[in-house]
């Protein structure tokens, strides 16, 4: 389905009588159901009209008699590759041409041998058309055409969970036919239909036919879980007689589903409203319901419009991004031109030469204004005081002192060789790179020294 409806009408036809269930899904995902009176055409029409108004779906089913389900084992381990060969394998299995039927692979499993096994549901086009005609005769045109056996199986599992690895036999007792679905655990096996209604009391004919079918699929003596549903499952005597007869070979407990008459219709609603395994719709290709086709078209149209809008947004964002980038670049260029014009008035500045031209102009201008700036720089006078203080602290006597901004030259005398070293350390502490030369006085006791120092300027 191209959409998930919130409301659904499930309808089954059995012996010319319609059973309808109206169901709706709440926002929490819970499905609520209302069973309409069987055979009440007015109530059915009203239910269908309400479902149409709320955009709901209508679901019907194709009887097991008119279709088949089959497990196909592909020789391949890859599912993608298996999907390509499975139709050919199905064609071999079918008694009629594949082109005459519609099919859907509803489940894929990997076997213990590692190959892909697929469950296919198929029906002839004529059977589908006949089924649709029957529904239309009842005044409805189902959007979904499910498979009776699959619907019975999944609903049975939903209402009565399977026992692991135990065989499970579901018998659907309708007014005009009996359907047998066999599986193991949760795994669907096969479905059979007998065009004979259950008799009012024990009838060996139906039991024998059922035993024949069961012997073909189940070895005698294995335990099984027996489940009954359908309009006639409400008759206790019929169900118990069948169960008693069949459990001789396949012993197991009996379970009767609640509301057995509407069981299949409820199954159709549940499957239409909720996601889950073994979902199937045989209204395909030319049989597709117009509403479904419209929904498919709508989805394609919405996807195309989405892509169109995405493309337009991409183009728009690209152009906008480009324009914004260029606008920003132009703003910066204008700012540069304005600042360069302010810093180098009267100078024609070629594009891209702003820095060299402005620097050239500024160097000329800076010569005229730098002395004003220098007036606020630290003076040499405190540095002179620091040098004199360093000399006093080292107990040396300066003879000459020459101080410039980044250099210092001293000559003097000290009473001790080490006092010159103290002076050197103190000058280094002021930030000078000091070259000290000392010489012993021959005639005197004092040490003469010369200091040449660089750096350390304030």
């Amino acid at each position: 389905m191209p959409f998930r409806p919130r409301v659904c009408c499930g309808m089954t036809l059995s012996g010319g009588a319609a059973v309808m269930v109206r169901a709706w899904r709440s926002s929490g995902g819970t499905v609520h159901q209302a069973i309409l009176a069987p055979g009440d055409a007015a109530a059915h029409r009203q239910g269908l009209a309400e479902s149409d108004r709320s955009g709901g779906a209508t679901a019907g089913c194709l009887a097991v008699q008119e279709s088949l389900t089959l497990w196909l084992n592909s020789p391949l381990a890859s599912r993608a590759k298996a999907e390509k060969v499975l139709p050919s394998l199905l064609d071999i299995q079918l008694p009629f041409p594949l082109e005459d039927c519609l099919y859907q692979f509803v489940e894929f499993r990997r076997t213990s041998e590692g190959i892909v096994s697929a469950l296919v549901c198929a029906a002839r086009r004529e059977a589908i058309q006949a089924c649709l005609d029957r529904y239309q005769a009842q005044g409805t045109d189902p959007m979904l055409l499910d498979h009776e056996g699959l619907a019975l199986w999944t609903q049975s599992l939903a209402e009565c969970p399977a026992e692991p690895r135990r065989h499970r036999i579901l018998i659907y007792l309708a007014d005009d036919h009996t359907t047998l679905v066999i599986g193991c655990g949760e795994r669907y096996g096969t479905a059979h239909s007998l065009q004979m209604p259950p008799p009012p009391a024990a009838d060996d004919g139906l039991v024998n036919r059922l035993q024949l079918l069961l012997h073909a699929g189940l070895p005698a003596g294995v335990g099984a879980q027996w489940l009954f549903c359908g309009a006639r499952a409400g008759e206790t005597a019929v169900v118990e007689t069948l169960h008693r007869s069949l459990t001789r070979d396949w012993p197991g407990p009996l379970t009767r589903h609640k509301e057995p008459a509407s069981f299949l219709a409820r199954a159709l609603c549940e499957r239409a409203l909720k996601r889950g395994p073994l979902r199937c719709n045989l209204r395909q290709q030319t049989f597709t319901h117009p509403a479904v086709r419209r929904a498919v078209d709508g989805r394609a149209r919405n996807a195309a419009v989405g892509i169109l809008v995405a493309g337009l947004l991409l183009v728009g964002f690209s152009l906008t991004s480009r324009l914004l980038g260029e606008h920003r670049l132009n703003l910066i260029k204008a700012e540069i031109a304005a600042m360069a014009g302010e810093l180098a008035p009267g100078v024609t500045i070629p594009y891209g030469r702003e820095i060299p031209e402005v620097q050239k102009a500024w160097e000329k201008q800076a010569l005229l204004t730098a002395p004003f700036m220098d007036a606020f720089a630290p003076s040499l006078a405190p540095r002179l005081a620091e040098v004199v203080k360093a000399g006093r602290a080292s107990a040396v006597r300066f003879e000459t002192l020459s101080l410039r901004r980044n250099s210092l030259a001293l000559t003097g005398v000290a009473e001790d060789w080490d006092q010159c070293g103290q002076l050197e350390q103190r000058l280094k502490a002021l930030g000078y790179a000091v070259k000290l030369q000392r010489q012993e006085a021959i005639a005197e006791n004092e040490v003469r020294f010369t200091v040449n120092a660089e750096g350390g300027g304030p």
């Binding site: 690209s318 480009r322 500024w362 800076a366 204004t369 006597r397």
Partner: protein, 192 residues
């Protein structure tokens, strides 16, 4: 929707989407180049802003000088007489160059032949406290062999001045007064 219309819509959507992808790729590439340009221009702008900041600091300093009530610094001779006892400096002009806005930078050499060196800091402080201020650029001291604490000092000092600005109210005109008192080379320079 008719199949043809849906097909046309899908084809148009695909074409526009591809155009959008193409435009995005082209724009992305162009924007890479553009971002490089913007980065370079921002660097240029930063350098210009740094120059402008330096210039603004210089102009602010000039403004501080312009705001002074006195545009001519006190003479070094008068400062020397006031701060140093028993020593009259010999003043010589070393260099003079024009600055901006009518200001002139003068570099003077003050030579104290025999001075009490302990008074030198007072002289320098007095000179640097003037408005406009004198700045010590170079200093050469030589101690005297005759007496402790005495020596010769050669000071290179510079100051900015603006001739033609009104003098302060205290009527201090060191140039003419110094000339009257026997004067120095600095004083002579100030004779119109």
């Amino acid at each position: 929707m008719k199949p043809n219309a849906l097909f046309i819509l899908q084809a148009c959507a695909l074409a526009v989407f591809l155009a959008g992808i193409l435009a995005s790729i082209v724009t992305f590439r162009q924007n890479l180049g553009l971002s490089d340009k913007i980065r370079n221009k921002n660097e240029t702008l930063s350098q210009l802003a740094a120059i402008k900041q330096t210039r603004d600091r210089h102009l602010a300093a000039l403004q501080a000088f312009e705001a002074l009530s006195n545009a001519v610094p006190a003479t070094l001779a008068s400062l020397g007489r006031a701060a140093v006892t028993n020593a009259t400096p010999e003043i010589r002009e070393r260099e003079s160059r024009n600055l901006t806005a009518g200001w002139t930078l003068r570099q003077m050499e003050a030579v104290f032949s025999e001075m009490n060196l302990s008074q030198l800091p007072d002289f320098l402080q007095a000179a640097e406290m003037q408005r406009p201020p004198w700045r010590l650029m170079e200093c050469t001291l030589a101690s005297s062999r005759q007496a402790d604490g005495l020596g010769r000092a050669v000071l290179i000092m510079e100051a900015a001045e603006k001739i033609g600005r009104q003098m302060p109210d205290d009527g201090r005109q060191p140039a003419r007064r110094s000339l009257g008192e026997g004067g120095t080379t600095e004083d002579r320079r100030r004779i119109p």
